[in-house]
């Protein structure tokens, strides 16, 4: 496919459709609204469902229902809207539903503002809802990755039966860049979901639930979830390195911050200083082993976030 110059938020929608997403449930909020708008335009053109829900809560629960039916489904919002969705996200994690949630982050707390910020880190990476669960969190830093990581999110969601988050800041959502879109994922390539409640004879014994009344059962369920998370941690860590080989100082950042840091590294390199850039692509699973190894070599890490500092992973120490 040839390159198309496109907004990050719109690349999310095209990527989702190419990945075989069949339903989008959303609610307007700046700076994520272009996602719902593009979905409202494109989804019906290919016979798929777009519905503007009555609320963020309605939207995530519609995704819960669609994911229960076994189709690829998604929602998108921005920080305060994500706060509202947390109950539904916790249920989806507990019920092990495959779905995709896109968060184009803005300033907070409260209504905050619509400028880009990265202060959703804790509520996405460390679990903003109740209970013992983790979400795979992908952090694109360009329009191409808005497409690619959205497509990957659907793949990982299906592979691990878990909600997957694509978390980008307002800059990455709003900026335009060339994107080369891949071919649509053939419907036959989508994994079967024998566990879904699809309203069919084969699936009519199935149950989608997050309740385990017996404490021992719930503990067993959580241990199973964490066994799955361990598998994800060993197989799905993704990161990018830029000029780290001889670097004495390594800048660490994700999203648009990594773009700014890349420019800073280039500028400082031109002055002969040995600096590099480490960009986590998966915020969970966090690339802590790789980062710890880089730090063990005696190099300094310089962490930059558009927040008061949330990218703290004590496991790495």
């Amino acid at each position: 496919m040839a390159k198309q110059f496109i907004k990050g938020n719109e690349a999310v929608v095209k990527g989702a459709i190419l990945a075989g997403c069949r339903a989008f449930y959303g609610y307007p909020i700046t700076p994520a609204s272009e996602i719902a708008e593009a979905a409202a335009y494109y989804f019906p053109l290919v016979g798929r469902t777009f519905l503007q829900a009555e609320s963020e809560i309605g939207a995530i629960n519609m995704v819960y229902g669609a994911a229960s039916a076994g189709i690829r489904a998604m929602t998108a919002s921005s920080s305060p809207g994500i706060s509202l969705k947390q109950e539904g996200i916790s249920y989806a994690a507990g019920a092990e539903l495959s779905c995709v949630i896109v968060d184009i982050t803005r300033g907070g707390p409260g209504l905050g503002n619509i400028a880009p910020e990265q202060s959703d880190y804790n509520q996405m990476v460390k679990g903003g809802g109740h209970g013992n669960y983790k979400l795979i969190v992908l952090a694109p830093n360009c329009a191409q990755e808005m497409c690619d990581l959205t497509m990957l999110a659907f793949e990982l969601a299906d592979r691990y039966r878990t909600p997957v988050v694509v978390m980008a800041d307002g800059f990455i959502g709003q900026m335009m860049e060339p994107v080369e879109f891949p071919s649509p994922v053939p419907e036959g390539d989508l994994p079967p979901k024998p566990w879904a409640t699809a309203g069919t004879a084969e699936t009519h014994k199935n149950l989608i639930t997050s309740i385990d009344l017996e404490p021992d059962d719930l503990e067993r369920h959580i241990n199973n979830l964490y066994a799955k998370y361990a598998e994800i941690e060993s197989a799905e860590v993704r990161y990018e390195e830029f000029m780290v080989d001889d670097a004495e100082l390594i800048c660490v950042g994700y999203g648009v911050v990594a773009r700014v840091l890349q420019s800073a590294v280039e500028q400082v390199r031109a002055e002969g200083k040995k600096v590099g850039l480490f960009r986590p692509v998966t915020l969970w699973p966090f690339p802590e082993k790789r980062l710890a190894r880089l730090a063990d070599d005696g190099r300094k890490l310089f962490v930059v976030e558009m927040s008061k500092g949330m990218m703290v992973h004590l496991e790495a120490v």
Binding site: M1, A2, K3, Q4, F5, I17, L18, R22, A23, Y25, P31, Y42, V46, G47, T49, L51, A53, E54, S55, I57, G58, A59, N61, Y64, G65, A67, S68, A69, A73, E87, Y91, N113, I114, A115, P116, G170, F171, Q174, M175, M176, E177, P178, P184, T197, A198, G199, T200, A201, H204, L207, T209, S210, I211, L213, E214, R259, V260, Q262, V265, E266
Partner: protein, 479 residues
Amino acid sequence: MAETIFRKAKSFYDIYERKGGANKEVTHYCPGCGHGILHKLIAEAMDDFGLKEHTVFISPVGCSVFAYYYFDCGNIQAPHGRAPAVATGMKRANPKSVVISYQGDGDLAGIGGNEILQAANRGERISVFFVNNAIYGMTGGQMAPTTLLGMRTTTSPHGRKAGNEGYPLGMCELLSTLKAPAYVERVALTDAKHIMQARKAVRKALKAQVDGKGFTFVEALAACPTNWKVPTREANRWIVEMLEPVFPVKLFKDEIESRESEALEDRTYGPADVVAALDLPTEEPDIAFVRSPQAIKDPQIKVAGFGGQGVLLLGLALAQAGMRAGYHATWLPSYGPEMRGGTANCHVRISEHRIGTPLVHDSDVLIAFNGPSIDKFAPMVKPGGLILYDSSLVDRTIERSDVKAYGLPFTEVADKELGNGKASNFVAMGAFIVASRGVFDEGVVKSILPLVIKRKNMIELNERAVAAGMRIARDALAS
């Protein structure tokens, strides 16, 4: 002589394996509870219509959270109050399935008030069974939206007062005012006569869903002897004497017969349909453009002016032309509070290398369409940089001697020569091609105009604007 065999509906499991505890043949409901009766009516209807393999039953939070112990069909347990939203996602994913949202009064009329209202108003093709016993059962007898005035509960220990907690909420009364629902009826699970009426209502609702007739809603007044603290044998009388005067048993709305059945789309969309619908370009256009060694290298460009001058569009066109000419390119609109007050600006980067930050702070090129943009951004142009500004509108002189600044009459040329002042941005584009010494050329810009200009009849005008801009820039640079 015909035989009547009393047996459990086949849409129930024989043994309730999902239920904890020793006795897996009885339900978890209290003696005298109305849920068992309604469950039975639903299961029998599922049997008779042959629905069990196609039904997805959504249990709420409340006493019926464990309905999935009993129903031998697809089951989803939903967050508190959200069953109608979950049902929406389920039904739309699979319109041929039969979707039941089964909810209590706290779940439906309290925490889930908006979900039920909006699902009803959209006319979702689901059946909602609403058990109204005027109290929270599962959590131990707290006040519900349907609790009667004066009624004592654990959270209205002095009796519900209208002045504090408002009045009992009539959901049938509320939902039947909406246009979309096809069927709304309130029944009472009391004596045999009323239970037979309830049976009819349940069957009607499910049949209407099977026939694609729209949203159906059955409210059942039901007993909760445990939390009412009323002896089981008196519970039915309590429904009749206490609940029914406030919640009259009646048919509120029935348009099932007059509704058209929903027609399901059976068209399938292949990969080629998807690519076409998403407007994805399949082949790179063939552009004969050779980069000029004299061109400004990797320009960081700021475009600024008033809203409505086509500032953002010019930025977009610059970046698109950059991409088309084989560079990396980014475009970022000014964003946030900066947008207020009628000024607009955008950041454009065009580079032979992968671009780091899309933000342009100190620019190589400034294209300005008004005085305030010059005041604000001219000092931030890098030494040796380029400023192009609209001399028709800017009455400033550029005080800097370390940059090349050209005041060109973009608006005047567009206005007088092209007959449309709005083309001033593409006059500036022409000037950029010349003054940047060919970051890209006129042919590249022509090839991207159809991508950035939505109105086809404006493309030719803007092509002429680019040519005019190139001419006046050549003249200015020559002098």
